[in-house]
């Protein structure tokens, strides 16, 4: 499949697509003629999608009613893929991953090491931008899942074609390092000049490990020796950073910098413009209606009972029905106004998500030049 590596025009049979139901509900679906995509609003036939351009909105009549339901069929990107993953997994989200890629200048010359693979979400972003990605996962089941997924997504390969550039290896890199040899559990294809061991020569390293300091000493075997190599450790706790700093110094890494990245998303909303004058006029309107009521009651009282007590002491009960209904409702009193209702004036406002991701991990960057000699 080429869904992650080539821009596709039309939705085709066999394509992996992402179906957008809502911002928090994006599902990965492989197109198969005759099948349906089922939602609680009804079934969307794949046949309605196949042959249409990517990005098409698909409408169906909802079950049992004369209404319509909509979805959008999108071509996967690493970012959409990340959004589609179940949130319980530990994922490197776009604010972090995009910063790491930019900060480490991870372009078509980058030979990247990633450990561990985890959900594989960051691997997709690396695969898009880098020349080659060597990713390592120590968890057997997760390794197999990721291997399968990378195959399905068409990003596994030796970089002979754009985007088909991922190698995944089952490995505890802290204990056993990063070298990839024959007989290792790996997707690496040993070719003619790499019969015994893969030539990794990484110049970008990303360590998402609980104890990166145990992996750092093992990097020397696999990093490029003739150019500057960048490293990023991704650690949730500050004590991990401290230990990482210690290891970086010990093993000759320099330009050490640590940052946190904070991503925020804003909702666009509208707030009703309620002016003081309108509020004053509303109160005046109420008052005048109330006075009418008071006057009327006064007349009634005058007619029926004696004048001596209880009237006009200001303690008039508001709950008594007044003569006319209050008519001036500048803010739509009495019914719930829909945000943006054209009957009213609105001010555009932003509102940050109600729960923000206040912390993901600390990012510790460093770099190293192995050979300091001069080339002829």
């Amino acid at each position: 499949m080429t869904c992650f590596t080539e821009y596709k025009d039309l939705i085709q049979e066999g394509d992996l697509t992402l179906i957008w139901i809502s911002r928090n509900n994006i599902r990965a679906v492989v197109m198969k003629a005759g099948e349906n995509f089922n939602t609680r609003y009804g079934s969307f036939p794949h046949n309605d999608m196949i042959g249409k351009p990517y990005g098409s909105q698909i409408a169906i009549r909802t079950k049992g009613s004369n209404k319509f339901a909509f979805i959008h069929v999108l071509q996967p990107t690493p970012e959409l893929w990340t959004l589609s993953l179940p949130h319980r997994t530990q994922i490197v989200y776009t604010p972090d991953s995009s910063y790491i890629i930019e900060r480490m200048n991870c372009g078509p010359n980058a030979r990247v090491i990633e450990a561990g693979t985890g959900s594989g979400s960051f691997s997709h972003a690396f695969a898009r931008s880098a020349q080659k990605l060597f990713t390592y996962e120590f968890h057997q089941v997760r390794y197999e899942q990721a291997l399968e997924e990378f195959k399905d997504h068409g990003i596994l390969g030796d970089a002979s074609k754009y985007g088909e550039n991922v190698t995944i290896t089952h490995r505890d890199v802290c204990e056993n390092g990063f070298r990839i040899k024959q007989n290792d559990t790996t997707s690496f294809e040993f070719g003619e000049d790499e019969e015994i061991e893969a030539k990794i020569n990484a110049n970008v390293i990303f360590l998402d490990l609980p104890a990166p300091w145990d992996a750092i000493p093992n990097l020397n075997d696999v990093i490029a020796s003739d150019e500057k190599v960048g490293l990023c450790c991704f650690s949730p706790c500050i004590e991990q950073v401290d230990k990482t700093l210690e290891a970086l110094e010990k093993y000759g890494w320099t330009d050490v910098e640590m940052v946190e990245v904070q991503g925020k998303q804003y909702e666009s909303r509208r707030q009703m413009v309620r002016t003081l004058d309108d509020a004053l006029n509303r109160l005046k309107d109420i008052k005048s209606h109330k006075l009418e009521g008071v006057e009327r009651r006064k007349r009634l009282l005058n007619e029926t009972i004696n004048e001596s007590c209880g009237i006009d002491d200001g303690s008039v009960d508001d709950k008594r029905p007044s003569t006319g209904k209050t008519k001036f409702n500048p803010f739509g009193k009495g019914f719930r106004v829909k945000e943006g209702d054209k009957e009213f004036k609105w001010k555009d406002v932003t509102k940050v998500e109600s729960e923000i991701k206040s912390h993901t991990s600390y990012l510790t960057f460093a770099s190293k030049i192995v050979k300091k000699d001069r080339l002829a």
Partner: protein, 461 residues
């Protein structure tokens, strides 16, 4: 030698100076480069080392003589490679800070209890004496050692203040510089450093990184772009697409729409892409030509390509003029294609033009499912845009996002976020271009009250 790995002649590189400032230089072979008070060096002396290497300028007797005779000119020194990782002074510094005991050591006061005014008056060396030292000096470290000796209350400072003092002095007198690859982020930070905040629209590295990822920028895409930063945004795209590789096999293209008569991509002059490479991968069209392109007929009215025979018969001058006009003619036809036929793989915009009128029109030729990412210095302009896009079925889930990077002090035992940092960085609006479904039975579809997705209002919650 690979100019992406090594320092090569003719390259633009960015130098990091002891003051923490940067300087962009072109490495003209056989030339010399002056770093002002930090000294001068010969370009040839640094060629062939890995990009990222740190050098120190030093002067031997011979240099000193030159110095004497040529007072006005910065004398050119020799360079030696510094191994930062084995730099003893740096290690000492961090070792001192990581060992708590040091806090209680005899030489440093636990706090500044007994110290009132730490000012220049306590430094007993005069500026003249320091200048004298600098002229004689072999290295900055020695000057600093001498200054400490003569600093009356140095030992009354806490080890923390001592460090700060040392670091400040070190920066002032060291003659080190690091030669770095001029990445787009390096160019951005250089421009911010020299105060061109407005020119780069207050961008930050993290916002640009996020823009490139959200826009799904790849080596094989064709992107529509408006760049109000004078070429910086385009450089970010080029670096992500080609990584400085001028022999790239990738075919990606950037079509830049400009609001003035002529495009302004001045900042690309700092890049190491040759003009021809840029011509192949970056196409420029004015908004007028893009939105109101001439018809092919109009173009053909002005010029008719001649047959091979006719061209063959032309004389030198006429023939050259003909080829020039042919090239323009072809450029015009290509331009019309970009304005009318190409379906773009993404739209990225950084402009101060009003967005609500601009983005929907620029999005007409963006292919379905492809991202639209718009940078702005101000959230308020994106807010206005987002409401416009919410009401347009061609845009899926516009989101305003902000990303901020917060750097830390990484001295072990004294970890904390930096006390101050730059405030800006801008905002992004991102969404996907989509293709609305034809409404099956218009009246009823409009009446739909419970779509899975409320089309008019796609909030983040």
């Amino acid at each position: 030698m690979d100019p992406l790995k090594h320092i090569v002649a003719g390259q633009h590189v960015i130098l990091k100076l002891p003051s923490n400032n940067s300087k962009i230089v072109e490495l003209k072979p056989d030339g010399s480069i002056s770093l002002g008070k930090f000294g001068s060096f010969n370009v040839n002396d640094i060629l062939g080392y890995a990009l990222g290497t740190t050098f120190e300028i030093y002067y031997n007797e011979e240099n000193q003589e030159t110095n004497q005779t040529n007072k006005n000119k910065n004398p050119v020194g020799q360079v030696r490679v510094i191994d930062n990782s084995k730099d003893t002074s740096a290690n000492e510094e961090s070792r001192a800070t990581s060992e708590e005991n040091d806090l209680n050591s005899m030489d440093s006061s636990l706090s500044n209890k007994n110290l009132i005014n730490v000012g220049n008056e306590i430094q007993k060396m005069t500026m003249d004496e320091i200048e004298q030292l600098k002229k004689q000096s072999v290295s900055g470290n020695e000057i600093i050692a001498k200054m400490i000796e003569s600093h009356g209350s140095f030992h009354q400072k806490t080890s923390h203040s001592q460090e700060k003092y040392l670091k400040r002095k070190k920066q002032k007198f060291s003659k080190r510089f690091t030669v770095n690859y001029l990445s787009s982020s390096a160019l951005l930070s250089f421009l911010l450093e020299k105060g061109d905040i407005q020119r780069v629209m207050d961008m930050s590295e993290e916002s640009m990184g996020m823009l490139l990822n959200l826009a799904n920028i790849r080596s094989n895409g064709t992107y529509l772009c408006m760049d109000g930063t004078g070429g910086l945004l385009v450089y970010f795209l080029l670096e992500r697409m080609f990584g400085g590789d001028i022999k790239t096999k990738f075919t990606g293209k950037i079509v830049v729409i400009h609001e003035n008569e002529h495009p302004n991509l001045d900042l690309l002059k700092f890049s190491n892409y040759p003009e021809e490479f840029i011509r192949d991968h970056v196409k420029t069209i004015s908004i007028l030509d893009y939105f109101e392109p001439p018809t092919v007929e109009e173009i053909q009215q002005g010029f008719t390509p001649l047959s091979k025979e006719e061209v063959h018969e032309m004389k030198g001058n006429r023939r050259n003029a003909y080829f020039r006009r042919l090239k323009l003619y072809k450029g015009q036809l290509e331009m019309v294609d970009y304005a009318t036929k190409v379906q773009y793989d993404g739209l990225v915009v950084a402009t101060t033009l009003s967005l609500p009128s601009l983005i929907p029109r620029l999005s007409e030729h963006v292919h379905g499912s492809r991202p639209i990412v718009c940078y702005s210095q101000f959230k308020e302009t994106l807010l206005e845009l987002s409401h416009t896009l919410y009401d347009d079925l061609r845009f899926l889930a516009p989101s305003i996002v902000e990303t901020r990077c917060r750097p830390y002090q990484t001295i072990r035992g004294k970890l904390h976020p930096l006390m101050t940092m730059r405030g800006g960085g801008g905002y992004l609006l991102s969404c996907n271009r989509v293709i609305p479904a034809p409404e099956p039975e218009p009246v009823q579809a409009k009446g739909s009250e419970e779509p899975i997705e409320t089309l008019k209002k796609q909030k983040t919650e």
